[in-house]
Subunit: 198 residues, 2 copies
DNA sequence: CGTTAATTTGAGACCATTCAATTTCGGTGG
DNA sequence: CCACCGAAATTGAATGGTCTCAAATTAACG
């Protein structure tokens, strides 16, 4: 959808499906930097900064709305409320990155994955996708690994351990959270950083 | 300087000295999320979001300017250029976080530290602090460790390995980059993400 | 100088990786 | 509907990078 180094001419909002942002290292390894669910801006920052510093890919069949950069800037100039909302959107984005730094920097594999699952489940719930602790979750284990800084093999084993403890159920692209409280605890999850309290 | 959960009433700009932002995990571990040098905003995002989601600490004796949140917002409303500049400032912040996710997520200890040193050296150079590859660098090895997701012990050994290869010199709070190109290569460093090209 | 913080060193343990092989799953064509 | 295929998930065993714990050395500072 967007390639690193590319000049931004428009901004896109994800309407349906999942998307993710990633960076590729010189040795071919990759790190997934964020995962996006419907209704989220996926490259607002590129629109403002001008040059993309990372790639954006769609995860499954997805649908986006592209807004010309100029139109967006014009809107921002004329509507203070919209402008502030967009700024806040990018700031929450930023807050999530900070938490991800913590996640990959200081948590062990179980906590990393539990934390990521908590975050996504909560965000999905908040946007009304999925309910009763059941969500679409189209990430492969390899993608999950690249998002948590682990290998696919170890991600597999860690997921098994979370399943064994009856914290989650994950198969066929469907995630079911069986024990919210425990999962939160394992993932050291505190949602303050999502800045979602209304 | 700022404590997690605290309501923001003012924004601060760092005038002298270093500062850093950190998050403390429930088990007491900590992750340093960013390091700030003079002339940078250290909590603009808190000013806009309202609640701090992390702590900010000063590293050495430092000096800051505190701007009342209301005054800043007022300025933003009346001066489009300033407003955009502030937005861009927070976006570059965000871009740096993304790179840090990659750094702690997918690079080994040598690369992590080399990358961090490259980033800071470049930022210091750009703001005119230090020259000839020589910079103030007041981080202790423990803080360096918390910024790279390593332990202090391993950070020590890794620094020794970088010194042994004549890439850097680091002691008494002074960093000297001896071989820019090699250090860049070891750290897999590409400055695009700093968005500093003028 | 004395005291505490910071750095350095050593050895052993462990979490996560690597490499390779096997099994399961989802989709496709005959 | 079954056979087939590639992708994804799973398993095993060995390796290795980083951690842990503890002690020694050096630097910083009043």
């Amino acid at each position: 959808m967007i390639r690193e180094g590319q000049r931004a001419t428009e901004c896109t909002v994800l309407l349906r499906g999942f998307a993710y942002r990633q960076k590729i290292l010189s040795d071919g390894d990759r790190q997934i930097i964020s995962i996006h669910i419907p209704s989220e801006f996926i490259d607002l920052q590129n629109g403002i900064l001008g040059t993309a510093d990372h790639n954006v890919q769609s995860l499954n069949h997805s649908e986006v709305a592209a807004i010309p950069r100029a139109a967006l800037m014009d809107l921002a100039d004329r509507r203070p409320a919209v402008r502030l909302a967009m700024w806040i959107d990018t700031l929450i984005d930023s807050s999530i990155f900070r938490e991800w730094v913590v996640n990959v920097g200081r948590r062990d594999s179980r906590a990393r994955i539990a934390h990521l699952l908590c975050e996504l489940a909560l965000r999905l719930e908040r946007t009304g996708v999925g309910r009763d602790g059941t969500f679409d979750f189209p990430l492969t284990q390899e993608q999950l690994a690249d998002a948590t800084g682990l290998t696919a093999v170890h991600t597999n084993r860690t997921l098994q351990s979370l399943r064994r403890d009856n914290l989650i159920q994950l198969s066929n692209g469907i995630l079911r959270v069986l024990d919210w409280e425990k999962l939160r605890e394992v993932g050291d999850f505190d949602e303050l950083y999502l800045h979602q309290q209304i």
